[in-house]
Amino acid sequence: MAELEITNLRKVFGDEDETIVAVDDLSLDIEDGEFVILVGPSGCGKSTTLRCIAGLEEPTSGDVRLAGQSLLDKRPSNRDIAMVFQNYALYPHMTAFGNMAFSLEMGTDLPRDEIRRRVEDAAELLEISELLEQRPGELSGGQQQRVALGRAIVREPEVFLLDEPLSNLDAKLRSSMRAELQELQNQLGVTTIYVTHDQTEAMTMGDRIAILNQGKLQQFGTPLECYHEPNNQFVAGFIGSPSMNFLEMAYTDGVLDNGHVQYHAPQSLLDHIPPNTSNLVVGIRPEHIETNADPGDQNVINVVIEVVEPMGDRTILYTSIGEEPIIISSAEEEIIEEGSEIPIHFPPDKMHLFDRTSGESLRAYERASPLAEVK
């Protein structure tokens, strides 16, 4: 069993004059064999977290435990953890074989033929057997990537750490490597933590994703949970492309109003609004806005389409409500002209409500209410 527990991890950089909190009270329980994605904008602390797990940084406080044992007192090489670096860090003066064998030669007393066997096995698994005698300079980006993976695999670690491993590849290679990495992880069954800022990788690759912002954990759940039930406005805006539309609205007596449109909230929505709330943010994903509403219906908004971007399978429409830009991703095949006015509708079950000051999702309010518990 090799579950990895990160408890109240905190990492502060800097001296007395100026400190930067890179990771702030982060706790994650990662199960054995799980593929977890750490995702967030740059500077959110995801790489620092990874480096604390690897032992390349010393946490300011908190603990990292593998199979119940704290890793903090151990050296990086004794942690049973292998890491793949963003730039691969393949030694240019060693062959692919030398690179893959290096950590076994340095960190273990394995006999030579055992090292050879392990490297060759990993090479076979990664389909790079014929490249073993080449140096990194002679390999393509994708091949280097495989050697870097091989270097991690030969150590047969309990945990893989991958730091944006696909960011140096071109788009086509990246998407094929995504699938391959997933399959590889499945096959090896090794607990994996994968850092990325790319939300496609986050959505498609992991069992669960941990979304970080400014050192704080925003949400830890399956990709679909994060998509459908974002904890807060940050997660809602970060996951999904194009990202969610937000409208600041005032709430009085069942009506949401932003000065340009009024929305009569149905009961299903009202359930989520705590008493005494007057200001909130309404979120709706571009792909959830309906463009074929009946102009006569309640809550239908007439908007002028400013720009139309046909993508083939769907069409991206740019419009605005008042000052706020609204993006619509429509699956309708009917062609919409730029400058035309269309009626749009926000289906209430697809609407997200956030507290305007804290940014927290109000749907959590319902789950926390006594009513929800009964349910």
Partner: protein, 312 residues
């Protein structure tokens, strides 16, 4: 409960394993870094830093090479320089020589711009112009000594052949220093050229393309793009030329022996004569301190007047 205890014991064992490692092999140990930097640091301290202070100390003493006792003189060695006409000559000559060598900077810049136009043979031209840089000063001095020889040297023979007046070159009181300046320029151009070329190659091509589109001619491109962007490089080249020229010794020693009379005495030449031929090491140290101050001041002035926005 038991599992927890076992885990604790394991942690303790792991900790012992880790910390009992030899401090030399522990990657977190600072000691290893001190071992790496130590030898060089020791040399800095003994070969540069200590002598630096020792020189100042010697300069305020009468310190003869063979004497056992060294009398304290205060600033006498320094005031002595002011009335020592050979030192004053040396100082003036050094300044003239140094300023003369800065002529190598525009020559090098001009050649670098031509080479950077990438006509066929550019690599050959720059390689050839660089040859004098790699050849040692003694060899260069001996060869030029022969070239300048008024009786059998090729320079006078050449001038005679085309009907121009000949010269005493290094043997003439007026011509000796300029003759050495010519050698200095000849030997320095290649170095400056290579640095300018590196600077020019680092300039973004897009600036020139944009200027071409805007209708700029070559002079305008040079004036408004190359010159400002090359300022840090020029700054550095001038600094290196000034500092190295200011301490020149070999050609004065080998070719002219400081002469005729004091025509090619330079600070370092006179310093050598005083310190190691006459053995007056206290006085020589005072000159060394002056040399140090001048070199330091050159760097500062350079920084202040030209290098304000130079980031290095």
């Amino acid at each position: 409960m038991l599992a927890e205890l076992q885990a604790n014991i394991k942690t303790i064992h792991a900790r012992i394993d880790d910390t009992s490692w030899d401090a030399f092999t522990n990657p977190d140990s600072e000691l290893a870094w001190y071992v790496l930097v130590g030898p060089k640091l020791f040399l800095f301290l003994t070969i540069f830093v200590f002598p630096f202070f020792f020189a100042i100390w010697m300069s305020i003493h009468e310190w003869h090479m063979l004497a056992a006792e060294h009398q304290f003189l205060g600033l006498d060695n320094y005031t002595r320089m002011l009335v020592d006409s050979r030192f004053i000559d040396s100082f003036v000559n050094t300044v003239i020589y140094t300023l003369g060598l800065t002529l190598s900077v525009p020559i090098a810049l001009f050649l670098a711009i031509l080479i950077n136009k990438n006509i066929r043979g550019s690599a050959f031209y720059s390689a050839a112009i660089f040859v004098p840089v790699v050849i040692s000063w003694v060899v260069v001095s001996l060869i030029w000594m022969w070239i300048y020889n008024p009786d059998i040297g090729m320079l006078n023979a050449l001038l005679e052949a085309v009907g121009l007046p000949t010269s005493q070159w290094t043997r003439g009181v007026r011509t000796a220093l300029p003759s050495l300046i010519i050698i200095g320029i000849w030997k320095t151009v290649g170095f400056n050229l290579v640095i300018f070329l590196a600077g020019l190659r680092g300039l973004p091509e897009s600036y020139y393309e944009a200027a071409t589109v805007a209708g700029a001619n070559s002079w305008q491109k040079f004036r408004y793009i190359t010159m400002p962007l090359l300022k840090p490089t020029t700054f550095f080249v001038v600094l290196v030329v000034l500092i190295t020229a200011f301490r020149e010794f070999t050609p004065m020693f080998v070719i002219t022996d400081g002469g005729p009379v004091t025509a090619t005495h330079t600070i370092v030449y006179y310093f050598y004569i005083v310190g190691f031929e006459r053995g007056q090491m206290g006085y020589a140290s005072a000159m060394a301190v002056v040399l140090l101050i001048v070199v330091f001041v050159i760097s500062i002035i350079q920084q202040r007047t030209w290098g304000q926005d130079v980031d290095y």
